[in-house]
Symmetry: C2
Subunit: 473 residues, 2 copies
Amino acid sequence: MMPEGGVAWRASQLAHLARLAHQALTCAEMGDLIAAAQTEVAALEETHPDRVNVREIERDWQKATKLPESLVSELAELSSTAMHEWAAARKASDFKRFQPWLEKTVALNQRKAECLGWPSDGEGWDALADSYEPGLQASQVQRVFDPLRKRLQGLLDRLQGGKRKPSNAFNEHPLNIADQERFVRFVSKSVGFDFSRGRLDRSTHPFCGGSHCSDVRMTTRYLETCVLDALGSTMHETGHGLYEQGLDANRIGLPMGEAAGLSVHESQSRLWENQVGRSKPFWAWCQRQLPAFFGDACDRFSLQDLVDGANVVEPGLIRVEADEGTYNMHVMIRFQLERSLIKGDLKVADLPGVWNRMYKEYLGLVVPDDRRGCLQDVHWSMGAIGYFPTYTLGTLLAAQLFEKARADLPGLEEGFSKGEFQPLLKWLRTHVHAEGRRFRLDDLCRKVTGQPLSADPLMRHLEGKLLPLYGLA
Amino acid sequence: MMPEGGVAWRASQLAHLARLAHQALTCAEMGDLIAAAQTEVAALEETHPDRVNVREIERDWQKATKLPESLVSELAELSSTAMHEWAAARKASDFKRFQPWLEKTVALNQRKAECLGWPSDGEGWDALADSYEPGLQASQVQRVFDPLRKRLQGLLDRLQGGKRKPSNAFNEHPLNIADQERFVRFVSKSVGFDFSRGRLDRSTHPFCGGSHCSDVRMTTRYLETCVLDALGSTMHETGHGLYEQGLDANRIGLPMGEAAGLSVHESQSRLWENQVGRSKPFWAWCQRQLPAFFGDACDRFSLQDLVDGANVVEPGLIRVEADEGTYNMHVMIRFQLERSLIKGDLKVADLPGVWNRMYKEYLGLVVPDDRRGCLQDVHWSMGAIGYFPTYTLGTLLAAQLFEKARADLPGLEEGFSKGEFQPLLKWLRTHVHAEGRRFRLDDLCRKVTGQPLSADPLMRHLEGKLLPLYGLA
């Protein structure tokens, strides 16, 4: 929403705020206060909320004290400006324009990693990723991604030879945008988003933000020809929004009232978008709602057409438009690239070439220009390196959580077809939302599902749904 | 835009920010720093920018040090909550609901006035008004308002007996709202608002805000039946916006880069709304633009119809919908009431009754309910007492500045009919916008126009325009 002329001032405001926040966290008394608090909570159970709060505040403080204030404000200022340059470069598909900004971003993040340090068996990327997913290491991501890529590739190869091709007709059916808006708001509300404590607006790139569990701001976007685009984005952001609204209001400002790492956050958005929002029972319910919003405009589509539309698999160039089957391939490419950039194995100038080679290798696609290639995502421009893998880790967790919820709640999916989403939401509130930052990703996964994080549930979910759709069951 | 559930958290955030800002301004070193700066600038001319900056910072600091931090945050927190209660009370036309909040607001503002103190010939209201218009005193306002009311009443009485009644037809002509939006944005841009450094959006109550001269946020509102409502609001907010965009970007954060008091701010909005936006030359230009936005939908209106529509005088209950002839009556009523509330002469419980009596006396109207009576304005709910008179003082200044601009710039109004607004804007940039907080209201008025602030130019403006329209020339 910001006018172009406001960029420089906004950048300096954000840099100043980053400096103030850093000062507050690293002020002289903080070390003593934390030490005193640690003594106070030492006798409590390890997972007692007070002890968790002290543990996590100490973690944040340790990280902050390692970063000089000048670097913090430099990073904040660079990210606002670089984001703006990225947006202009992307529009013009002009990588050369963005290149110097990405070079600065990589260099500054390498310095940040040096300041933060990393485990002896790790690398610089780990130091950066730790801000998004505590304790995450590149070697560990690689161990998850390598076999996952093979299994996904196997599935995609099988689908290619499928005897049936799901209908794409509903994805090409024009529907009035004002009607779409009423519809997706109704769906968001029906699955549990509390509009008295949040909003849903429009933006080019959907997101979920806000300042408090009582004021959660989501956006979505609308394409006249594809209500599924708006609905998918809305379900995704609603998943994030439900998590934020489910945080403990009495503990806001303390780690127990904050979201766990980004992987857990993404598990919530993916679960509502994919496990719920692309399921047959969900669409059975949706189909009955359509006439109230679109009159008879959708009458010619069968339930199978709707389910088909939500689940077609087709490799594409753009991550945010990717289907469930190919999405994680996009993430893996980005992870390899950012890991190499931080290591210094890949020069920024060589990024477009390597990006394009990998898209050929992973998805069999020719990238026609950088706008649809390495300039498509905002993340690196805002200095978020080490962030992408949380998308796939969250996708794995979503599948694993959903399997457990289904086991715990008999008739869960049948309920979706009747518009009953509260049992699932209540289950997530208890097992995920109310836990704040109590558990790390893997600990939370074990605690809730009894198993370490694994790719098996995701593969079962994809195969169980896609193979029949492609006549391969 | 905030969801209802977000009110409490927003209130506590704002209270916290008010406390931090107060701490920053009243910290231990500030007194010494200001004293040192005073020594440094002592040899400069009184109106030298550096000396003005020190003078005004010292003024802000003096005021801040008189207020205990607890009162500052209490006022901030109360105002967010009371605003919300007011909105609900207004909707239900339920004064009793708002009464306890207004009582708290008055009591807290009386305490604030006690802390700030006032001149020996003054009263508590003066201490509060000083935050909106430096040095303003109730007795001085009264001396301006008493004769102004008589003169305005005389004019209104004459118009009542006019031989001609201006046509109201253009105010009742439905026009597509999307077209209206394109039109008012075009007008705002044409008179000089820089959309690369600002925005125009929609809200129930138009306002102008933003964080910097490079990021000015205005809103307007749209009624299908009355494009003049959107246009008038847009011209008004554009006046505020042009002032903000005209502040010295190199001095933002210092008094020389800040707007002078609210009266000067209002002079800019009123000048563009009234002296420009209700003038015949402006409408001659507008009329030629209408087809590009509304096709032939306005063809049946003559230029006289358009000018009539913009200038009809008709006493009404709602201040923000008032015409140029009656507007100041609304302000005078509010001034009398808030002065009495702070003095303790008027109890909050008695406000609706006294409000209604005064509307009968000043405007001959019966107030049917408190929603259209004493609950209509947001100001008191947000703790802004001492604010209203700046609307009328700004209206006087607008007329006085415009007379001088017309004398300085031959052919000024003829230029409007050709869409030439730059000469006026340039004149205001030089004489008002670039001056920041250098002069007080009356000093600025003398400096620019050579005369003290007076009601004569406003009366000349109104009589010169309205008497002929009512067949009384």
